[in-house]
Amino acid sequence: MEHATEVIFFVLIITVVVLVPIGTIAARSDDVAQQAAQVAVSNFVDTVSNEGQITEEAWTKFQEELPKTHSFEPSIVLEPIDENIGNKSAWTSSSVIGENEKYSIYTSQILDDLEKKGVVPCKAGDTISVSVKNTDTTIYQSVINVLYKVSGKGTSVIGAQATRTIKSNGK
């Protein structure tokens, strides 16, 4: 009985003294990584919006800005304006941003084009949306799962997302 009490005591001590601080620090680290990822994503979409094109240089810079403490899976969706749909008439503006339908181009296609041509041009009025999610399990998640499996908090994810309308036509 005495032996069992000691074991329980030490387990509880280790939990409180070791795991809880690690969990807390890991949570803060995840928060910092979250902010850094959001800044990187926002900068990237701002760059693309201003330049009117996705360049290899911007893409490389974006990947370098993502926090190195985790591995991320970025996702890009480019929604160009479909020129064939929209109001047309002889005496009014031929195209008004916001009226036309848009179709979507996704990550793999964009990265393919980027690799082959080095640049993916866009038009004013297109929309670009970029999101990232971490693919690894963070320390915080691991600790949380140890502490209380019942809450299902293992779904904690570092993610960031930003969307912008393209402001100019790419070269």
Binding site: F9, T15, G98, E99, T127, T165
Partner: protein
């Protein structure tokens, strides 16, 4: 019990409590994070919508007269598309997002649109999809309880009247989102003994007034007037210089009517004095001589000739604005003084003269009679939203403004003292104008959101949020969009918020924050290259404004800057001189501090600036092309080389960001890019430009008039009585005032003429 057992018991008690508390705190943090994300998405999407509006309205393909409504609808669509993409529900699911948007407010220069669900009767159709009508053309609506829209057989023309009715009161109602008709910032005023009128306000001092006013004989006379309201006695040196066209009578035709010709425009003008000009400009029927019934006589005679009246039609030949424009265009008026500053630009002259006569008429005819409390009871006084709970809050201010006896248009009192300056932020006119606009917007938004809440079958009740003072300053300060997003589940709460985004780049409205000055247009390749600056930037060279008459200095509103101002080859600054950054090798080169080395050009020489690499004798022109073979125009190669200072290559320098605008001038780093500068002038609450200085702690102070002289005050109005350094000189202040008064007037005159389509 030993300490171990006590510790175990303690830990067993504490751990679950801390786990639960931690979970609770984490949920709260997640909720806050989600709220922040939604708020960011909302603001980003609203920003995209305004951006789309700017791009559409400033596009080169805009057709004159095109309906602004189309651009507003396109902006709303852009907002929903952007929000859906942000939330990851783009495509057909984006339509579901509308359920969380009770209203979108789009404020324009003289009115606003609201996009919200509206009660609409469901129209019935025939079997080929056309709207069903009866023989008299009355539309058939679906009856309540009937879901099928097809009620008419197109071939036989028979209508199933059990499913459809022409009586709208029995029609099936649906709530569909639509852009409601444009609402002007207007208010009606009446005093049964004196007048009955409507005033359309705008975001600045432009008003349109129309209605009836009782004349001296007791009859109500109709009138319509439109213009900018200013403190007109600040304008001098113009009153007696207007001229009107002279119309000659050359004889009579066979019917006995006079034949008249408009004389040569360059010679046949006659000067009219101040009072006569006032009458000609403000009264379309004005004549200097009373009309008679005899067809051989004609109106407005002088020296046997007819002035300004077409005797055949009996109508005025020139309107008031035409007299003013003609007088300026013909060079009869070349300058005037506004607040002591000489104005010589023709567009600015037209603005001030029109504003002078308009403001004088308003002051003399409406100033003494139109009270704020005369505002029409039915429309305006009952339209106040519920109390916001704040003492002297916005709603209290609106109520006070509508119930006081202040004379809204009384600019000068009987002794010609300025008592109500329309340019002042605290004047009776400005406060009332803002109250009218706020009241109208609040009434319409409250109605829209209440309708939405009552009829959209939602789980939560939606209400209009209370706007803060800074929110109203944004809404009333420029064209913009306000979007409400309510009812989205958000962790432990429900998301309810709104975003206000204003347009900094548009060609409909100008305020003091979007006017920029440069000496001349041109990029770095020109010799007179200059940055754009704000009027209060210390880097503005006020000697530019010595030549306003020849239009060398240039002012542009931000709409003329390309909205995608982009970073260009950066130019760095050091303590002693400028450097040029060469992208190809990433090095910094120092240019000749004297600027021009050569004025003459040879075939190989493209420009006048030269650089060379210190490690070799390679010469570059300013396009970074190697110049191998050049011919000196006079002098020798040795003399040329003596002129070149040794250029050092610096590997590292502090990099600055410059933004290239459409006219190829970059923006000043201090006042435009970083907004980190000490202004040399500031505007007080009356809209007057005042000099600034620094106190002993190098805090900014501004000089304002006081009884017996001037005094210095801080931003919050606190007086400073110590020593002031870095005072702006009189010369600096006057030159900036002259430039400011000129270009604001010029742009207001041109924008008003350019934006002639409906719903500006």
């Amino acid at each position: 019990m030993n300490y171990k057992k006590m510790s175990i018991i303690f830990l067993i008690m504490i751990i679950p409590i801390s786990v639960v508390l931690s979970e609770y705190v984490h949920n709260q943090i997640d909720t806050l994070t989600l709220q922040t994300q939604y708020k960011t998405m909302l603001e980003d999407s609203t920003y995209d919508a305004i951006l789309a509006y700017e791009m559409n309205t400033m596009s080169a393909t805009v057709a004159k007269g095109e309906d602004n409504k189309r651009y507003v609808l396109a902006s709303v669509n852009t907002f929903f598309n952007s929000l859906a993409t942000n939330m990851g529900v783009s495509g057909t699911n984006s339509i579901d997002l509308r359920l969380y948007v009770p209203a979108i407010l789009f404020t324009s220069y003289d009115g606003y649109y609201i996009y919200s669900p509206t009660k609409m009767p469901k129209v019935a159709t025939d079997d080929i999809g056309l709207g069903a009508t009866d023989d008299n053309g009355n539309i058939y609506y679906l009856r309540e309880g009937n879901d099928s829209t097809v009620v008419k057989d197109s071939s036989s023309g028979t209508v199933d009247t059990s499913k459809a009715t022409t009586d709208m009161s029995n029609a099936k109602i649906s709530y569909d989102y639509m852009l409601k008709p444009y609402i002007y910032y207007s208010a009606s005023y009446s005093d049964s003994n004196k007048y009955n009128l409507v005033v359309n306000y705008s975001l600045d001092n432009h008003i349109t007034v129309y209605g009836q006013i009782k004349d001296a004989s007791g009859k109500f006379q109709p009138f319509t007037k439109s213009g900018y309201l200013i403190d007109y006695n600040s304008i001098t040196d113009v009153i007696n210089k207007l001229k009107i066209k002279k119309i000659k009578r050359t004889g009579f035709n066979s019917s006995g009517n006079p034949i008249q010709v408009v004389s040569d425009a360059n010679t046949e003008y006659v000067e009219i004095d101040g009072d006569t000009a006032y009458n000609y400009i403000n009264d379309y029927n004005y004549t200097e001589a009373p009309p008679t019934a005899n067809a051989n006589n004609y109106f407005g005679t002088r020296d046997g000739q007819s002035y300004s009246f077409d005797v055949v039609t009996g109508k005025r030949y020139q309107t008031g604005d035409q007299i003013i424009e003609d007088s300026v265009n013909q060079g009869f008026i070349t300058s005037l003084k506004y607040k002591g500053q000489e104005i010589t630009d023709s567009d600015a002259l037209k603005y001030y003269i029109k504003a002078y006569y308009f403001s004088k008429w308003i002051d003399e005819n409406l100033g003494g009679i139109v009270k704020a409390s005369d505002i029409n009871e039915e429309i305006d006084k009952n339209a106040i939203v519920p109390d916001d709970g704040e003492d002297n809050g916005i709603n209290d201010q609106i109520k006070l403004s509508f119930t006081s006896d202040d004379k809204i248009f009384d600019i000068y009192d009987n002794s010609d003292n300025l008592i109500n300056n329309p340019d002042s932020e605290t004047s009776i006119f400005t406060n009332h104008r803002k109250s009218v606009i706020q009241n109208s917007i609040l009434y319409s938004l409250n109605s829209a959101i209440s309708t939405y809440s009552t009829n959209m079958d939602l789980l939560t009740e939606n209400r209009l949020p209370i706007f803060s003072q800074s929110d109203w300053e944004k809404i009333l300060g420029n064209i913009g969009m306000t979007v409400f997003l309510q009812g989205i589940p958000c962790g432990t709460k429900t998301f309810n918020d709104y975003a206000i985004v204003t347009s900094a780049n548009n060609n409909q409205f100008i305020n003091k924050n979007n006017l920029y000055f440069t000496k001349s247009i041109g990029g770095p390749e020109t010799t007179s290259y200059n940055d754009y600056h704000k009027i209060d930037c210390p880097a503005v060279v006020t000697s530019w404004f010595d030549t306003i008459e020849t239009a060398n200095p240039r002012a542009d509103i931000s709409a003329q800057f390309k909205y995608d101002a982009r970073e260009v080859e950066v130019k760095t600054y050091s303590d002693d001189d400028d450097f040029w950054y060469k992208k190809e090798d990433g090095k910094y080169y120092k240019g000749n501090p004297g600027g021009l080395l050569y004025e003459d050009k040879t075939a190989e020489v493209k420009n006048n600036l030269y650089y060379y690499d210190k490690d070799s004798t390679i010469y570059y022109d300013s396009d970074w092309n190697i110049v191998n073979d050049y011919t000196l125009i006079g002098g020798s190669r040795e003399a040329f080389e003596k002129k070149l200072k040794e250029i050092k290559v610096y590997e590292t320098q502090e990099v600055m960001t410059a933004y290239l605008y459409d006219h190829k001038n970059t923006g000043c780093y201090e006042c435009i890019v970083s907004n980190n500068y000490i202004p040399v002038v500031k505007f007080d609450e009356d809209g007057e430009m005042r000099r600034t200085g620094l106190d002993t702690d190098e805090k900014l102070v501004m000089e304002i008039p006081d009884v017996g002289g001037n005094k210095w005050v801080y931003d919050d109005g606190t007086e400073y009585t110590g020593t002031v350094s870095n005072r702006t000189s009189d010369d600096e202040l006057n030159k900036r005032k002259k430039a400011w008064y000129t270009y604001i007037a010029k742009y207001r005159n041109n924008l008003h003429n350019a934006n002639t389509y409906a719903n500006r």
